[in-house]
Symmetry: none
Subunit: 206 residues, 4 copies
């Protein structure tokens, strides 16, 4: 069942990873639709059938990519949320974490966000509703983390009573926009600080 390659070739686990790596690049560059399996296998240096040995179809390949890339991020986020830092500090730390993740995966996530909510309500999308729901869940979970911090802040009296959901979405959208518009640059920490600053204290002169 398993052919152990002690190393040498290092190509056993590779095939699957080669494909995922190639898919990552192509999907990021071209978006879901314009990415073709042919391009992916060319880059992965493998046969077409091999892709279908590991992934049931193009969509599931895409989904797997999303899932595997985001897993470490999700873990780090969950851990951070549960840390005992004061909420206002946590806000900035969370922003930093998001920025780092999205900067690294900007292109793929752009694609994912588009596919996620797809095309209105109609539903003729390639993405089966079931699959799309999974994307949405992943997304909501991230927002949910932000909401948690805000709730904590309100409970501790350092954040004013406000619509937590809307605020969380707002903060999230700002982070994403900074990344997608390439307004972040190398100074992720600085960017995080200024996002936190405006989010917490507003732009108006007090």
């Amino acid at each position: 069942m398993k052919y152990h390659r002690e190393s040498g070739e290092d190509d056993n686990r590779s095939k699957r990873e080669q494909i995922l790596d190639a898919a990552y690049q192509i999907f990021s560059q071209k978006g879901y639709h314009r990415a073709t399996i042919d391009e992916i296998i060319a880059l992965a240096d493998t046969g077409k059938g091999t892709v279908y040995n590991y992934f049931v179809n193009k969509e599931q390949l895409f989904y797997t990519l999303i899932r595997e890339k985001s897993a470490p991020f999700e873990a780090a986020l969950a851990e951070l949320i549960q840390s005992p830092e004061p909420p206002l500090v946590k806000v900035e730390a969370v922003i930093k974490l998001f920025l780092r993740f999205y900067v690294r995966n900007a292109d793929l996530w752009r694609v994912m966000m588009h596919e996620m909510r797809g095309f209105g309500s109609q539903g003729e999308s390639n993405l089966k509703p079931e699959q799309r729901e999974k994307y949405r869940d992943w997304f909501r979970q991230s927002i949910g983390m932000l909401e948690k911090v805000l709730h904590e802040g309100i409970a501790q009296g350092v954040i004013r009573e406000c619509d937590v959901t809307k605020s969380a979405y707002g903060l999230f959208s700002v982070i994403v926009m900074m990344v997608f518009q390439k307004l972040v640059g190398d100074d992720i920490d600085g960017t995080a600080k200024s996002i936190a600053d405006i989010f917490l204290y507003g732009v108006a002169r007090q």
Copy 2:
């Protein structure tokens, strides 16, 4: 060979508009890729060749749509910006205007935003760089309006010195997110007020 038209001009313009209206609906529902010319002409009740008489190709049809739909909005925005209202009031008014426009055109704009920056650097995309740049320009112009208001506020001392570009993008992203996530509801004015509130004064308890 000869098609007699009672009122050449009038009917002529009509065909074009029929196509644009149909295209608007189909693009909004299906997104750029899944929208087909066949669907559009079925809805527009016209022939396939006619589309290509008025628009050089699918992409340019899409672009024209964007341009024509946004023209009135742009005008209204420009006027508002130049009005003599105090900046903090203007901020809220601008948000309101944006919200109204995006709520009305949510689906088409979702599509447009995706296509806009689209596909990284590659260039094999359908969208020629030149075309894509036009999208971006339109976009930047909107953001530019927001920046103007902020500058005005800073000049008048009611807004603190901050990175105006980033702030404008941030505000813009929040507006868009509220619309796309359907967090607006029917109460556009209320939503605008609370967005402005947080944007200006932050979420932190003072």
Copy 3:
């Protein structure tokens, strides 16, 4: 809507017919599965899309073929059945008619019969059950015609009481077998006569 070609090219109605003719040949030679659209268009000297303008898919192309080829035969058969000939004469005439039709269309019908009842009960066949049912109906109708003659014969006392359905199927199968095994030769009338002879009077020496 219609572009009248007075003649000259004679290619307007042609396109569809060209495709049908080509499909007829290819399906006959290769069977349903091994026939490819590419071969068909090569023979029809047309583009791939054209096929899909006229026929929704490969299966429906096949079905249309069957339908159009059999229509004249069905009409002739129905007429014959209603003629006032004595039953024993009719039996021979019907056999003749069947033979002529199947000899002419042997290959296509071989394919059709295979697809018709398909593959046991499972149903993973390409042919959607609905479509397959249509094939079956066509088939049953033909058998039904034979049954009618037998009933008539029984009513008139020239055919003995027997299981009409089984007998009709039996007669039908003999006809088909003669054709498919190329036991007919050019002497269709002679073959019909001897089939009728054995069917009516058996092989046993009285």
Copy 4:
């Protein structure tokens, strides 16, 4: 690298049989084309390579199946033919034997018959002409057995002089049709009797 087998021979034969059994089921259910090696090995609980150790390819697997399944039937048929029964009795006995065999193997034989003559003259078929000829031979042999009985009957004066080949094919076709159209039911003996009856004495009232 080394797979210890307790009883090489025994297990060896087993693998082969497992594959044949599985192939029998799958081919019967799906037909030759839609049957996949993957399904077969899944059912046979063996590896894909193993199939190719025992059979050179899919087609030869199919052929072997036909050959091995029909061997006992052929033997029984040959024996019956040589028995000293009177011809008219033999005819019925032969029909019974055929019915029993085909009822048991209806689905596989349906497939086989289609593949047998398959694809006209072209030759691009998977089935090499040589292979196809073998199918045909098997088939002709069965018919030949029927012919023998008829000849015997003619020699003994109980069957009238007729085209023996055509009659044999006719009888054969009736048997097969009864099976494929599921007109047999559980009463094989009764069905055999009535087939024999009509075949020998015809449907006409004497």
